[in-house]
């Protein structure tokens, strides 16, 4: 007990070394915590990117050149919407926001085109970018397009709520309730995609002009892709021989892939820095303790002369570094929390790792000092 007391007094009197070692322990703790929070930030960025990115996909012809005039059987769209489950799966497990458009030339009203939409933004002409917009009368909303009601939206100024319009394409005629107006191209009627599916119990062959959709869960992109490529051709595949599906799908994941690759690269680098940092911190601990113990060689020689055992010298000296490390690490942790603005269990583990590396370094130095040759040392003059 009294031994510890005088050891502490002596430490206080060796101000410079004590402060230097304290400062080193503090810096090492802070450095590890900063590294930890940098890593955590990159990992959070990765998650956020994955969560925030919408990957859109477009159906094209098998060459990938045409995407606006596909003449694609609506069965494909149904498949994508999950309305059918041939092949034993629902595509909509993997995708969402399916947009599709099918147009039918009408003979009445004359020169009009009936455009069937899955969602209002399935037609470029109706999006903000395309310059048009749609206003539905009270009591209606965009979800009506997902169904198969016999309703339609006609160019602005032609009708009021509650009226019906008679349409005819030569094969069928039907009376559609007008539920709104639009500012898109004149001579176009918009109706829900499935309005014509089974009119009068009869299926009219309608083909889709275009179709696009989004990947439902970016984290399961690979599964979604595999599932899509069972039905549609892969435009990026090297092997373009063999039987090709009539339509291909273009999956716009390049930007996401590049961003993720970049962030993952950063994370890999940061992970590599951990062992590097620990090694450096151990080495710094070793050299700091080495210089500090070398400056006190004579004192260790005196201790040995007074009959102190090697084990006791180790415990006493290492105890000094341990105390400094604990105080330095405590202050360093507080500063680390202030610098990083957060605290996590992981940061504490990093700090503990740093201080352990420091202590291992000092322990090696201290164990060397216990092996001094007193006989040789006592002879060297000051």
């Amino acid at each position: 007990m009294s031994m510890r007391h005088v050891t502490i007094s002596a430490m206080m009197r060796r101000k410079r070394w004590t402060l230097l070692l304290l400062f080193i322990a503090l810096l090492e703790t802070c450095a590890a915590m900063v590294l930890c929070s940098l890593t955590a930030r990159q990992e959070a960025a990765l998650e956020k990117t994955v969560d925030d990115t919408v990957i859109s996909c477009v159906i094209t012809d098998s060459q990938g050149t045409n995407q606006d005039n596909l003449h694609m059987a609506t069965g494909f769209v149904d498949l994508l919407c999950g309305l059918r489950h041939e092949r034993g799966y629902y595509q909509d497990e993997h995708i969402k926001n399916v947009r599709s458009k099918a147009s039918i030339k009408l003979i009445a009203p004359k020169e009009y085109t009936m455009v069937c939409l899955l969602t209002p933004d399935s037609d470029y002409a109706l999006t903000a970018a395309g310059g048009g917009s749609m206003i539905l009368f009270d009591g209606w909303d965009a979800s009506v397009f997902a169904g198969n009601q016999e309703v339609c939206v006609i160019p602005q100024g032609l009708a009021v709520d509650g009226e019906y319009i008679e349409i005819d394409n030569g094969n069928f005629s039907v009376s559609l309730r007008i539920i709104g107006t639009h500012t898109g191209s004149a001579k176009t009627l918009y109706c829900p995609f499935h309005t014509m599916d089974f009119h009068d119990g009869q299926s009219y062959m309608i083909t889709a002009d275009s179709c696009s959709f989004d990947i439902r869960d970016t984290r399961r992109l690979d599964e979604a892709k595999a599932s899509l490529y069972e039905v549609f051709a892969d435009l990026n595949a090297d092997d373009q021989s063999g039987i090709r599906p009539a339509f291909a799908v273009r999956i716009n994941d390049d930007i996401l892939r590049n961003t993720l690759e970049e962030i993952r690269g950063n994370i890999r680098t940061l992970h590599l820095l951990i062992p590097a940092l620990l090694i450096i911190e151990g080495a710094v601990g070793f050299f700091a303790a080495y210089l500090s113990t070398q400056s006190r060689l004579r004192e260790y020689a005196v201790m040995r002369c007074l009959g102190m055992t090697r084990g006791k010298i180790f415990r006493l000296t290492f105890g000094e570094y341990l105390a400094l490390a604990v105080v330095g690490a405590a202050v360093g942790t507080v500063i680390g929390i202030v610098i990083n603005g957060t605290l996590s269990l992981r940061m504490l583990l990093y700090a503990a790792g740093a201080i352990s590396a420091f202590l291992i370094g000092t322990a090696i130095s201290v164990s060397r000092i216990t092996r001094i040759n007193v006989m040789k040392l006592m002879k060297t003059e000051e």
Binding site: M1, S2, M3, S9, A10, R298, G307, M375, M378
Partner: protein, 221 residues
């Protein structure tokens, strides 16, 4: 018989490239109650001999026995803690401990309570002629002679029966040197210690009960 018995010891310094023989067959018996000095030219092996007596290493051949037990076989750390104290020409003290703490150090090592240890150290410091107001100073605030006395007080506090001193007066003027020798002599005669002093100083040698002359790693005469 309680004595320090040296039987035909040899010792060499070795490194990778060469071996230097420092002692070549030394035999002598040191008895308690007497003050011995060892004189001899530089490099003849005096410091080496004293270090072996202190149990800092063991002889290559031959033996050093204290109370019939060989230093080669005993716990030499304990031997230095309890039986043998060395005083060097310089750097004997812990520079960051006070005079009192330095003198009490062997007692702290034994686990004695701080105030108890310091009471005893105080007594020994006064015995070697240091003054109370110097007790709380650091060693570099003392003269060389005073520092040497602190080292002696520490040896006294440890209760060692063997006091080994390597040129204890080497850095001191003759007045201070005489004082130190006086104290060591009193230790031998009054405390029944076994005191061995290595010296170049004829005045010191003159005070001794027995003078041993060393030459080329051997004792003469």
């Amino acid at each position: 018989m309680e004595s320090l018995l040296v039987k035909d010891i040899t010792y060499s310094y070795r490194n990778k490239y060469q071996t230097v023989r420092a002692l070549g067959g030394v035999s002598v018996e040191f008895e308690p109650g007497k003050m011995y000095t060892i004189v001899g030219s530089s490099g003849c092996g005096k410091t080496t001999f004293l270090s072996l007596l202190a149990g800092l290493d063991v002889p290559e051949s031959g033996s050093i026995e204290w109370k019939g037990e060989s230093t080669a076989k005993m716990d030499r750390d304990r031997y230095r803690r309890e039986s043998a104290s060395v005083i060097y020409q310089n750097f004997n003290l812990f520079q960051h401990l006070t005079v009192l703490e330095n003198a009490a150090y062997p007692l702290y090592m034994r686990g004695m309570k701080k105030n108890e240890a310091e009471a005893k150290a105080r007594e020994k410091l006064l015995a070697v002629g240091l003054k109370e107001e110097q007790f709380d100073r650091l060693p570099n605030m003392l003269s060389g002679g005073e520092q040497q006395r602190v080292a002696i007080a520490r040896a006294l506090a440890s209760g060692s029966r063997i006091i080994l001193a390597d040129e204890p007066t080497g850095n001191l003027d003759s007045e201070n040197g005489r004082n130190i020798v006086e104290i060591l002599k009193r230790l031998a005669h009054e405390e029944n210690c076994c005191v061995v002093i290595v010296t170049h100083d004829q005045a010191v040698a003159d005070e001794a009960d027995v003078v041993l002359k060393m030459r080329d790693g051997k004792l003469e005469g």
